[in-house]
Amino acid sequence: MDGYYAFMLVATAFVLVMTVPALALFYGGMTRSKSVLNMMMLSFVAFGIATLVFVLWGWSEGWGADGAGNANGKLIANPFHMWGLHGVSWGNYIFVLFQLTFAAITIALASGSIADRVKLSSWVVFVPIWLTLCYFPIAHNVWGGGWLSSHWAAQDYAGGTVVHINAGVAGGILALVVGRRVGWPRDAGRPHNLTLTMIGAGLLWFGWYGFNVGSIVFTGKTEAQNVHQFMTETGVTFMNTTVATASAMLAWLVVERIVHGKATSLGAASGIVAGLVAITPSCGAVNLTGAIIVGIVAGGLCAVAVGLKFKLGLDDSLDVVGVHLVGGLVGTLLIGFVSTSSAPGGIDGLFYGGGLSSLGHQLLAALFTIVWTGVLTTVIALAIKFTIGWRITEEAEVEGIDGDQHGESAYDLATGTGILA
């Protein structure tokens, strides 16, 4: 399986690109010009912190199981068994790194809900605690042989629950606890540079091939079976990722055209991400028809869902809930309907005569993630609110968080400014 090993080196670098810089660009373009650097920094800093946390105890807590390679069937795993990657061979480093990039992007995704207004220091405190209490336990339960997968195994190919529902719930709770931006919703802050957002969305799509296709788990008993699986399943997941994403982009644009009169570039970029989110759990579970359905439902539903925050009064600034929670739920739950035994996952959903069992397992995994992360994120976010606090001063927020938190401005469009002090 030399080819697989080489592929994983590349796939891991692909997923790194999704956070730095793809997500940072996607989010950065949507903020105001006075807060674009801070928005991008939340992703960059999250990657830095996630890296250290992951190699120290994250791998052990998420994938270490009982410490000897056997599923422990429990709600949590010991973060100290494999402290600092103790006992992990060099040959397995790339698999640690691959998962590391997932942890990083998940928390970076959540940062979109609290644009323009949060102290960098509070984010730096939040990220490692959240990864420890929410990300690694959910990954352990869904992927790492934990309690949930031992009792009600759901299909989650690359992270519909672990990554997207998780990030969506965390983002929603953060927006609620941190509170609205000054002047919101009257001054909702329209995107300052949609070309950045378009580049970011395109790069996310590119990186997502590493994310989804790289998430293959071998089930063969012999090398030959595994080679066969690798040479067939990767084509399916690559195809489904592409087809669902294209469908979602078009669906979002059609909804916009009908409801608001114009198909927008932000709609195209958002539709791409909604499709990618929804096909994340389902790319190995559905056939071509299923991928198109997943894409259309995700694009159409998320296009409507992003408007709900104004009705709810929730300043989820860049729609983490509307895109990642809703898109993650669409992908995770649709598996229960359109998954088919003719796809690599090998399980029939409701529409293919599989009854309600698959849907039930998918629903349980989604609910497990929502409840676990919902409760614990609330606790962490409130603890930070009542100790070090979340918000920069109102004055700094109005002036621009870039200057206040980083002492920088993204754009110097005037001449003759900035003489060396």
Binding site: R190, H260, L266, G307, G322
Partner: protein
């Protein structure tokens, strides 16, 4: 001397400059500005949320000219910037007391 100030549609700026150069105007100050008059702004929709964009981008031209030339310059700008549609802009003329060329210290007429 007079200061002629014009606020015009950005895409008419090349026409205005050409007309003024042909007339013999040798320099001007041009800035990108925004504002609104009867044209008002417009709406933009991002992820379904409608934003009222009150300000419309415009070009502001400032030229200091001899008293005798003021009317001609004003007329040329109006003629070359006109599209006949709402939002064409405004031109106004105001008196100027002193002008000094920074390089030489020349004053008034000699400084133009």
């Amino acid at each position: 001397m007079k200061l002629v100030t014009a606020v015009i549609k950005p895409h008419k700026w090349e026409d205005v400059r050409e007309a003024l150069e042909t007339f013999g105007v040798t320099g001007m100050t041009v800035s990108e500005v925004s504002g609104y008059g009867r044209q008002k702004g417009h709406t933009e929709v991002y992820r379904g949320a409608e934003y009222d964009i009150a300000l419309v981008p415009k070009i502001r031209i400032e030229i200091v000219v001899q008293d005798d030339d003021a009317d001609d310059v004003l007329g040329l700008i109006v003629k070359s910037a006109q599209t006949g549609r709402i939002g064409d802009g405004k031109v106004w003329v105001s008196p100027v007391e002193v002008v000094v060329r920074v390089r030489t210290g020349d004053r008034d007429a000699a400084a133009l």
